[in-house]
Symmetry: C2
Subunit: 415 residues, 2 copies
């Protein structure tokens, strides 16, 4: 297994002003493709220190990957430091120069001498094209076949270069035959411990694919990771295990990989030609906000009422005052009336309602902070769910939102 | 200025499964207190590699700070690696042992041999107490006065130890006389370039405090950083500059430090004994969600209507159908009617309304994606604002939300 080290360059990192997200992104891509990350480092914008860090890392590893410090300004000196570490001079790369000239002529900005400087690469280096900016990346070579790959620090420039150029080059260079293919199954309405219990035997017996259970706000993912020659072979290894897990978790898996709970719900409702309305108290608009984050939500989502005050529950949703007086706003009776009310008032086929005590104040011994009632209604029925949530105001609001969407999914689409 | 390096320990970091937030947290605390961070590193759970990284860092710096790898399990070996690097043996620390025993007896769990192992510290080390867990931190000493400070990797355990014990020790050890005091002024409704223009002379003339302008989603912060002996002296340095900047940015600063726009609005509305209602189209519930994220919002926020479909605008808000037909849903006329409608229907003193095209579909040449109309109404008047926003659906939704809250602030509270 080839070994690499990662060096992130930038004084702002050492001041803690910026959290380095490039290093974990690169580390993950290397791990997925079978490259061992031996260590990572952050260094300031100092030519000697960057060169020293590169030289030290090259003694331990087969290659070093840097990111940051490739821009046109005076404090960008990663390229010079790489030359120092490898004993190389720079030379003008015509291809890179033309690419930079094209960007400037296209955007109508004036090119300066320091932009021209960006076309100077270490002698003998291979270009890593940058589709999203002027800072070209490159791979420079040391005597003995070790290498230093340099990428810019802007995350979307680095990511495109990593996936499009560096990883393919590494796979060929080191004849990497295996790759980790990942499949994530999203569940709702089942606890992490219950998932563990249902698939414990698979955990123990499975070496490839590996299985991991990840808990999120009020729902869990099951992650399958297969090591295989390519993605097709990885998928073939995953398929039978996924089938087994799907049958063990029957009725709880709502989607996979990039799918979201709100996205799946909008898609299903559109397909079934059903319209949706929402009445929210304790979630304060979060259920509607999640649903409307999906492009095309307007095909099914009519709207919602945030009935924070009881007067709004009565006037805008038609909740009977005597229900509020008898059972209180946080009750199965009121959440039922809210769901029925918003469904009728907005003329929707289906409705979701939430009411609860988000805290930190407002709890009583009978109705403590974290008590939440949810309801889903259609013309035939109303289903309610009572929850006791723990945590801060924000956690209660977020979990109640996820649970409300989950209840809709469970009633209409789980099977 | 004393120099330190930071080493984060954990194989999961090198696999990119976890983003290291401890390193920037420690780096920031060191920078604030006048310690230079010379470099940072991530190393896997490997005793030899951890020891080698510590030894190399100690050659460059006055001290090394590690985090992670202090737990009771077999893959926790930072302590052993520190002993290797410094040539020290471990010895039982009775104070730490008693502290661990107390935690176990309090929680009723059974203490195991590997928990007892956590009470072994490098010979001569100073304890850094852990108020939030069983893993004690410590400072071990090398010949020549250099040191290695070890802290656990669980963020809230690390943070408490850092602020409560390590930083005070470093300040005394290196007689650190200065500290950076920070003041953040939050603005809304003024562009970054306009702020730059208004305070350009202060930027140039100011060495202490330093000034930085930071852009967020549709609003900017002005950050003042003063270097002084203590916080009181830092505040005294900041006060006159803050006054000057406040007068240059008169009418745009809504709060400072931990204050949020929604928090300031709720506080002011409660103080003025005014109630608030919201009608949202393109923001889909985000304005209500922000307002209800504030504890105590129910004292002023009555509720809202998410009128995504035009039928809801007509039925729930009383927007005249002829307005929708003549001007379209995204227009100054309709947003005015939405604000007036929700104010009257919900019986509120003040109302906010939003309508727009969040995209990616639904734009036309006359009304492109990103066109947003906002309104704020009270019994006497309605003020509207038209915006042309750029970016993804999410960016348009978030910026429209911030701008809507900003419009309310501008009309009632800016002076």
């Amino acid at each position: 297994m080839p070994k690499c080290e990662i060096i992130a360059v930038g004084t702002e990192l050492l001041l803690g002003q910026l959290t380095d997200t490039n290093t974990p992104r690169i580390a993950q891509a290397l791990a997925t493709n079978g490259v061992d990350v031996y260590g990572t480092h952050e260094v300031g914008d100092n030519r000697d220190r960057i060169a020293a860090a590169i030289a030290a890392a090259l003694e331990r590893a087969d290659g070093v990957i840097t990111c940051g410090g490739l821009g046109p300004t005076i404090d960008d000196m990663t390229k010079e430091a790489i030359c120092d570490a490898l004993g190389l001079d720079v030379e003008l790369n015509e291809d890179v120069l033309h690419a930079i000239e094209r960007i400037f002529s296209r955007t109508g900005r004036q090119m300066r001498e320091n932009n021209r400087k960006q076309a100077l690469l270490p002698h003998g280096a291979m270009v890593l094209p940058n589709p999203n900016g002027t800072a070209a990346g490159f791979i420079a070579f040391a005597a003995g076949g070790k290498f230093v790959a340099a990428m810019p620090g802007v995350p979307h420039e680095m990511s495109a270069m990593l996936d499009g150029h560096l990883i393919p080059w590494l796979r060929e260079r080191f004849s990497l035959k295996s790759r980790i293919t990942t499949r994530i199954l999203h569940t709702i309405g089942i606890a992490e411990s219950e998932i563990d219990h249902r698939i414990a035997d698979l955990f123990a017996s499975q070496e490839n694919p590996k299985i991991a259970v990840l808990a999120h706000d009020f729902r869990c993912d099951v992650k399958l990771m297969a090591k295989a020659e390519d993605q097709a072979a990885g998928r073939a290894l995953i398929a039978p295990l996924e089938k087994t897990i799907a049958s063990r978790l029957n009725g709880y898996i709502f989607g996979a990989d990039d799918e979201t709970l709100e996205g799946v719900l909008i898609k299903r409702l559109v397909r079934d030609d059903k319209t949706l309305a929402v009445a929210e108290s304790c979630t304060g608009g979060r259920v509607s906000a999640r649903l409307t984050s999906v492009a095309g939500a307007s095909q099914t989502f009519l709207g919602g009422v945030v009935s924070y005050d009881n007067v709004v529950k009565v006037d805008a949703l038609g909740v009977p005052e005597e229900l509020l007086a008898q059972f209180g706003a946080v009750s199965g009776e009121v959440v039922t009336a809210m769901a029925q009310g918003v469904r009728k008032r907005l003329g929707a086929d289906v409705a979701i309602a939430t009411t609860g005590i988000a805290g930190p104040d407002g709890g009583t011994p009978e109705k403590p902070v974290g008590l939440v009632w949810l309801a889903v209604a259609d013309p035939e029925r109303v289903e309610t769910l009572q929850l006791h949530l723990h945590g801060s105001r924000e956690i209660v609001q977020v979990r109640a939102t996820v649970a409300a969407l989950g209840l809709l999914w469970k009633i209409f689409y789980a099977r």
